[in-house]
């Protein structure tokens, strides 16, 4: 029997660091050189297979990075199980912005949220401003996952999401039960072991649906 989990993931980070490109690469394995700036929030889903037994379905909210829309971000990251905070390795200011997002998440998001810090645009390593050591050290201090990616070449993209997927079930709230907190369409949801045996629950026990 295979296990299926479902998680809400949100992408945050400064404008033009490549959040939407990262998602496009992950979901459709495509890249678009001239992507327009996201003015809004897009919802996508993608499933990753961990092993023969386990798959994880991500419900991804890709948000606008522009400062103007910052006040709306909490609407999208509330109830998120995981967040990918993206910076551009060729812009040191974008790492500063990423730190701000991380501080905000630590303060206001779900306490169990898994946060991954992601340095994008490794294809432009020649213009690198943020060293791997600097970012890695910061990530370690804050207990974050860290990786570098290139949405353009595809390098490291799937790996980031797979790593998050692998880390998630172990940190998901033990309260997560079959059917708990599910809702129509994209929305908040706990990590759910969709395949838990009925026997473990007891035949007549009502779940907290």
């Amino acid at each position: 029997m295979s296990k299926q989990y479902q998680f809400k993931l949100v992408l945050l980070g400064e404008s033009a660091v490549g959040k939407s490109s990262l998602v496009l690469r992950f979901v459709k394995d495509q890249f678009d050189d001239y992507r327009e700036s996201t003015i809004g929030a897009a919802f996508l889903t993608q499933t990753v297979t961990i092993d023969d037994q386990t798959t994880v379905k991500f419900e991804i909210w890709d948000t606008a990075g522009q400062e103007r829309y910052k006040s709306l971000a909490p609407m999208y990251y509330r109830n998120a199980n995981c967040a990918v905070v993206v910076y551009d390795i060729t812009q040191s200011s974008s790492l500063e912005k990423a730190r701000t997002w991380i501080r905000e998440l630590q303060r206001q998001a779900d306490p169990n949220i898994v946060i991954a810090l992601c340095g994008n645009k490794t294809d432009l390593a020649a213009r690198r401003q943020v060293t791997q050591d600097e970012a890695k050290k910061y990530a370690e201090e804050e207990g974050l996952m860290w990786a570098e990616t290139s949405a353009k070449s595809g390098e490291g993209v799937t790996e980031v999401f797979t790593a998050i997927a692998k880390k998630l079930p172990s940190v998901a709230s033990p309260a997560a039960r079959p059917g708990a907190g599910t809702r129509t369409g994209p929305g908040a949801r706990q990590g759910v072991d969709l395949n838990k045996q009925a026997g473990t629950q007891g035949q007549n026990e009502n779940c907290n649906c």
Partner: protein, 1042 residues
Amino acid sequence: MSSFYNVINSSLRATENATVTVDSLVLPNLPASALSSIDTSDNWRDRRVLTVVSHKDEWALSEEGALYVYKLRPSLDSSTYTPELVTIYPIYDKFAIVMSQMRRNTLDLGTADTKAVLDQPRSGFSLTITPAGGQSKSHGTPTFYATDIQSLSILVAECKRLRDVAGWSTFLCNDEVLTGVFQPTEVVDPDAVSVSQSTSHFNWLHPYISKPTHLSLCQSSSFVPASSFIANMRGLVVSSIPPDLRTMNKPLTERLPPASAGHPGDDASVIQLLRDEWIRSKARSSVRQGTRDLSLRVGTFNVNGKMPSQDLSSWIQGTMASTSLSQITASSPTPFEDMALNKSESKISLGSTAATTLIAESADADSDTSPDILVLGFQELDLSTEALIYSTGTAREDAWCMAIFAALGEKAVQYEKLTSKQLVGMLIVILVKKSLKEYFGDIQATSVGSGILGLMGNKGATAIRLTFTPPLGAGGKPEASSSTTQSHEDDSDGKKAAALTLTFVNAHLAAFDEMVERRNQEFHELSRRLMFGRELNETEPAVYEDELVAQERLLTISLYETDVLFWMMFTITSNLDLNYRVDIPESEFRKLLAEKEWDDRLEVLIRYDQLKKSMSDAKAFDGFQEHRITYLPTYRFGLGLGMDELGYDQKRRPAWTDRILHLPSTLCNVEQRSYDSYPQITMSDHRPVAANFSLNFDLYEKSDYEAAVRRLYHEVHDLDGSHERPAIKVEQSFLDFGQIRRYKTRCTKKVVIENIGKIPCAWRFIPAQSDSPIHPEWLSVKPLTGLFLPGEKTEISITIHIEIRIAEALNLGSRDMSGTLILHTVLGKDHFIAISGEYLPSCYGNKLETLIRLPGPIRNLKSSEDLRPENHPLNAPGEIMRLVNRLMSNAKPPDNLFLQPPDEDMITTIRECLDTGDEFPWPLGEGKVEGKVSHALAHALLQLLDSLTEPILPSILHSRCVQMMSRDEAFELLDALQPAAVNVWITITAFLHFICQSSEVPGYAESIAGIFTAVLMRDDPKSTAPPISSIGKRKFILQFIT
């Protein structure tokens, strides 16, 4: 495969696919002999088409399936059948389908006719279905009989496969989840719906389940008139029964399920609502052949048990019978003549439409002006005690009908009685023009008693519902621009116009002053219990219990399932709520009523009317409309002794007890032309009331409309059923309104959105959080929802409008006007539209207390901390003083100051100068423009005073003002005001005194007093203080300025 395969498959959404269909017969109540050939026409009631439906979600890489059971609904002539979805069994977990060969040797070959025996297939199979949630308690295991072995094998194999792919076997562990999905006919239970919605599994089934959840929110027992998907997908659009008016009159945004940023909510319901709305309006406009008018006269009369003994022509025909006036004056000690004259004056001031209608009616007795339908409601027809229990026959009804025809005079020959309905004392009679009678039909009547024990007929209501199917082509008023207006004389025989449904209620509600609550409750009771039956073409025996329930619901039509609803009633209101009674003694009320010079006294007094209050508080008659009341109270008139000067009974407070309301429709334009009482009819202790209405509605062919709906449905078929995602382009995602200077002005910007995707796109604006508004209160957005096809563009208007109340907050608070609108594309992205603007504070729209604490021009004020200390304010607002000084420094002000319309641009400049402290750009003494400047300054002053959030003389003091008999007394009253208000009052009135002295315009002071009464002594509509006559207030001001 069943012959219905194509029909069924095309009724599914694109994400769903019918993999196999099998014809079958439902087993429980079949005699063995019926197990013959399935495809005969006489057993359609037992026939079921079993269909396996598979749903693939490319995004989730998953597949789910369900077994749909359809029954057949015959067409009107029984020549064809349409499959109608009755039950859905989601396939997962314990779902099982067992096929076994039937034993056929018990079949009685002897009785069946030979042909049937020969047609009989050689073998049959029984199919037993076990629902996924296990056996339901109330419903036995459904069993079907089928013969097509090939299709059956596929069906069983498909079911097995789909159950296996539903690998999350125990995901739905709650029984309630199942009931929601499992029995479509039971989803009227809102709990079941909400539970089933909370799972993302099988939510694709929702569009097939009959009852959209939003409908369960309305109080009525209304029911979507069919449980089938085919009917459902267009049920609200093409049903011959109009949808519930209360739902339809609500803005679409209120009917949509809740959503907020990051939580799009129930997109499936959103799609259904937006799609229905889109199809309805598009279909209407595409088949419209013009419009048609229908005129109505609706009357209500509480006859107090009397038999007709007077000429009713004024009430019936709406003419002021001038001949009868002298007679009334003679027979009554009250000066009715004055009253009648007064009335006709007020009617002319009512507005051009009402006035012209009335003049036309009285001037010329042409049949064109007489209404197409006359609807008359009577109450207390019979007060005898036996009438409460026994119906006393039609003697009284006949007498009143005769009186009606007599009152019609020479027009009587044009009319014919269409129908009537009586319940003890309540009678409703409908007359129509003979020439139109053939177009009226589907007449249904109903009544509900709510008197003693909630059953007796002394109170309650009678109601009649009917349809008007106008002839196509002839008689209509085709639009010149319409290309489809060729003559329909020839082809109109076979084609039928869509009918307009009208419903009339005649009600008698609770009768005591203290019973406001009870009367509101009675209204809701009547709303619920007044139901009409529906005539079915054939009585269809139900097979299962749940189907029976559904059909019973179908048999009734709510009062509100109509195009227009008229409500005539008699209800004793006390006029004044208990709270007000203390403030307004009855004697005062009578005195005010009699104050003939005061034109708007009725309007002021009607504010205290209980019915109006219930309506505005939405406690009863929510959404109903009533024309402005311009007639005196209609109850209770004394007969002989104990009357006041107007003829009202001394013992009862005069009241507007006889009313006519209507509930308008979005699909039919209702215009009320008049609303009057007829005081010359004195036979009862009530006076009759009548109103003229003019209806205007679209004329179109029913079959054309249905065809258009089908076509349009196909156009948006992909809305929720495609693998494509909607994509739109927002052409302007940032709107800068710049500096906003003035309250009361509007500034609109347009945003164009374009559907750049491959499928139709439904969209709506959503709030950031579920409890926040969609947009700031100073903004309006139109439209808030929409649907458009690929390549289409839609323009959205975004308007900033600052009312005084908002200006007050902005003047002192944050001046930053920014916000973000969230445009959610259903099943797609959220798009942000950022708004920005800077409010420039103004001295207009403030409290007096704020103005006197301004250290300088308001524009220079950085924050509220810079205000002068509360104990060191200015004596009077600098801006008012500045305007008055400038006006006074003019050697000779124009002698018609305040009466001349001003130059608006000049006023804008003046306001700007007041706000910034800049000098006025017109040096004093420049003769050429000075007159013009003075007029502008005068109106700028008037507007500034009017913009104060509280009038200089607050309404609480108005009652004392009118008692001041001399100038000294008037001055003494000013002690009650705060010092700054006194200073303003003295400054203004001294200035007015000055200009009144120097003006030679006749009646100038009176005009000025009238203008300033409305500003300095502004009425507060929310005040609980007794209403004060504007005449008294004017006199008070005149004490100062003359």
